[in-house]
């Protein structure tokens, strides 16, 4: 740990710089760094080719104990007792089991109650710790930045690289500060905030940057809400989202199975408390946002930047001066089956999905259940799904009576997994079907070929399920 004297002679550093510098094994040619990776999370879809690569080259994992695996993308959310019906999905999930056994990696199998979405179970298990570098073959790995961990998605070749070497050759990102002050209004949450930030930055606005989220509005968010914010940093192009350590971070981690305990706890906490940007630290770019001006958000197009407040109307491409953007808007509206000027409130979803690594934690389910309690899903809604983020979240929600609130209202209560966020399993939209979804991407075909996604918060999804169209959640409250 740095002595006080050394700290005095160091120029002020950002949180990103602190974690980055501590993980540089050596500088490599061409301005890249060989960066040490403390934790890798592995799942069934982007890992089989990596394990096969190890096998073909006769390599073994450098530190297998730093790897945690589970199946999430491709698993059924209906009953698990009969296994997986789709032979291709089954093969992929079985292959993960085979690979983990062969290489001695800890895996939470489908019948393990700790199984769930990797970005939910990492923090839940305390496998995500402040100051760590964390990678996974999934772009939403930025989620773990909520714990002041430098966490980012990689491709399969890099999954293999980290398995084999514990390192990655990487060019340093540029630090960006997104400063959010003020208080979010009641009914406006972390999901609305990050959608508003993406609308401001644009979907590629933070490409090449590591975003640190700071300010009083971020401080006032719970740890789970911070995960929602960091989760979607990638939707603004940033591989990394970060939030500095405070008491909430430490309280969350204490006592979790993979977190340090005993003699290690106090020194760990002492180190973690240094994981915040120094005052006067320099950011390449600073963006500010007033939290009190954020409305409940609903996306209208096929990119997460295409999002407006609940009181707005679908924008008119004719008013967009940039021809490439204008063409993008036209194509999005055509795909979404929406006309310019349509009030967002008049849009009627066919399906509702509450889940994903963005919004499937216990607080998300509590917030949605509070809106749903004592009401019924509208008759025009064909399917309303709640998919908890992990087996432990599911068990807790059942214990708290949330599951019953959902099922009595007409929601289906499912087993944990990624589910309809990307529709790799059978939970999909049909062509033309419209969905109020708490997931993170509204790309064409993302939730099923021809499916139309509207990204919203859990409260907004729940309220849309009840009303049959989008409403301002404050109106849906008791």
């Amino acid at each position: 740990m740095m002595s006080t004297d050394a700290a005095l002679t160091q120029p002020p550093r950002t949180l990103f710089d602190k974690i980055w510098q501590r993980h540089v094994v050596q500088e490599t040619a061409g301005g890249a760094s060989l960066l040490y990776v403390d934790r890798q999370l592995v799942y069934e879809v982007t890992s089989p080719q990596a394990f096969e690569g190890l096998r073909l080259a006769g390599r073994t994992p450098w530190r297998r104990e730093t790897v945690l695996a589970t199946a999430d993308h491709n698993v059924p959310t209906t009953t698990r007792s009969e296994g997986i019906a789709d032979p291709l999905s089954r093969l992929q999930v079985e292959q993960l089991e085979i690979n983990c056994k062969e290489f001695g990696i800890t895996e939470f199998g489908l019948r393990d109650r700790r199984q769930g979405i990797i970005h939910v179970i990492g923090p839940e298990q305390g496998a995500t710790l402040p100051g760590m570098t964390i990678v996974a073959g999934d772009s939403h790995t930025s989620t773990h930045g909520a714990f002041a961990a430098l966490a980012f998605g990689v491709g399969t070749s890099e999954v293999e690289h980290v398995l084999a070497t514990q390192c990655l050759s990487l060019r340093k990102m540029k630090p960006m500060l997104v400063q959010v002050d003020g208080a979010l209004r009641p009914g406006v949450g972390a999901k609305d905030l990050i959608l508003a930030i993406i609308a401001k930055l644009g979907t590629a606005g933070a490409t090449g940057y590591a975003i640190e989220f700071a300010g009083t509005a971020i401080r006032s968010l719970s740890i789970e809400a911070r995960m929602t914010v960091c989760n979607m940093a990638i939707e603004a192009g940033a591989r990394v989202g970060l939030i500095g350590v405070d008491d909430k971070t430490i309280d969350y981690l204490q006592g979790r199975p993979f977190a340090p305990a005993g003699k290690h706890w106090a020194p760990a906490v002492a180190y973690w408390r240094t994981l915040a940007s120094d005052p006067e630290a320099h950011f390449e770019r600073v963006v500010t946002l007033d939290a009190s001006a954020v409305n409940p958000m609903v996306s209208w197009g096929t990119s997460p930047e295409m999002v407006v407040g609940i009181d707005a109307v679908v924008p008119d491409p004719a008013l967009e001066p940039d021809p490439v953007k204008r063409a993008g808007m036209r194509s999005a509206l055509h795909y979404m089956g929406l006309a310019p000027g349509t009030p967002i409130r008049s849009i009627r979803p066919d399906k509702v999905f509450i889940g994903s690594c963005t919004n499937a934690r216990i607080e998300d389910l509590r917030a949605a259940a509070a809106v749903v309690q004592g009401r019924r899903v509208a008759s025009t809604i064909k399917l309303a799904l709640v998919v908890p983020g992990s087996g432990l979240v599911k068990a807790q929600a059942e214990q708290e009576g949330l599951a019953r609130i959902f099922t009595q209202a007409g929601f289906e209560w499912r087993e944990p997994g990624c589910s309809m966020c990307l529709g790799m399993n059978e939970d999909r939209l049909g062509p033309g079907e419209r969905c109020a979804s708490t997931s993170n991407r509204n790309f064409e075909g993302r939730q099923g070929p021809g499916g139309r996604t509207h990204l919203v918060s859990p409260e907004m999804a729940a309220a849309a399920a009840i009303a049959g169209h989008f409403v301002d959640v404050s109106e849906a409250r008791h």
Binding site: M1, V45, M132, S139, V154, A204, S331, R441, P449
Partner: protein, 212 residues
């Protein structure tokens, strides 16, 4: 890994910004546990009129006649010309695998999403960033002249148009070196095993809870 030095190739224009990796290779094809075989499903939802599923006979599927990839003039293309933020979204390396499997060896755009950009290099594909105005001109030139080809020279870091005019591009020196020599990244890093172990000894003292 294959080497990349020079390429003389037909150009395929994909005239949209923010092309995401879900569009490049839809999720249903990611159930494969192999790195190959994705080419017939590249841009599946734009390319075919029916719904694609793994295991179909793709040659029997109805093609979308409006999608550039299906036009005879672009058959055999090796270079994709794209708009801003190509390859955004999911980190799936299946996207570069699908492009590669189809026969694409280089891409030109005003910007690429970070993860996709890195994934290309791991698969001996060269993503080239040119300014938006130049890319705009290239789109017009490709549109105007069937059979439009570009010559890419990685050692010289240049893209040469049929007129003979050459445009210089920038590239990370280390990535260039790896592409030119077809180097195996993992073997390179394992060459630094002593440095990695020395680093671990220091970290073990600083943060013992990560090592016990």
């Amino acid at each position: 890994m294959d080497r990349f030095t020079t390429l003389d190739g037909l150009v395929l224009p994909i005239a949209r910004s923010n092309v995401d990796t879900d569009a490049i290779i839809p999720k249903q094809f990611m159930k494969s546990i192999r790195r190959t075989g994705f080419g017939p499903n590249l841009f599946d939802e734009w390319r075919y009129l029916d719904r694609g599923e793994p295991g179909q006979d793709n040659s029997a599927r109805p093609l979308n006649p409006d999608f550039a990839l299906n036009l005879p003039r672009y058959r055999g293309a090796q270079i994709v010309l794209a708009r801003e933020n190509f390859g955004c979204g999911s980190s799936r390396e299946h996207a570069p695998w699908a492009l590669r499997d189809y026969g694409i060896k280089a891409l030109i755009a005003p910007s690429f999403a970070d993860i996709f950009h890195g994934n290309c290099f791991k698969n001996a594909m060269l993503p080239i960033v040119l300014d938006a105005a130049t890319v705009d001109e290239l789109f017009q030139a490709v549109d105007a002249a069937p059979g439009y080809r570009l010559h890419i020279d990685l050692p010289a870091q240049s893209v040469t148009m049929p007129s003979g005019e050459a445009i210089r591009f920038e590239i990370d020196a280390f990535r260039k070196h790896c592409l030119l020599n077809g180097l195996d990244d993992i073997a390179l890093t394992l060459g630094q095993a002593d440095a990695i172990r020395a680093y671990e000894r220091v970290r073990r003292v600083q943060e013992p809870w990560l090592f016990e």
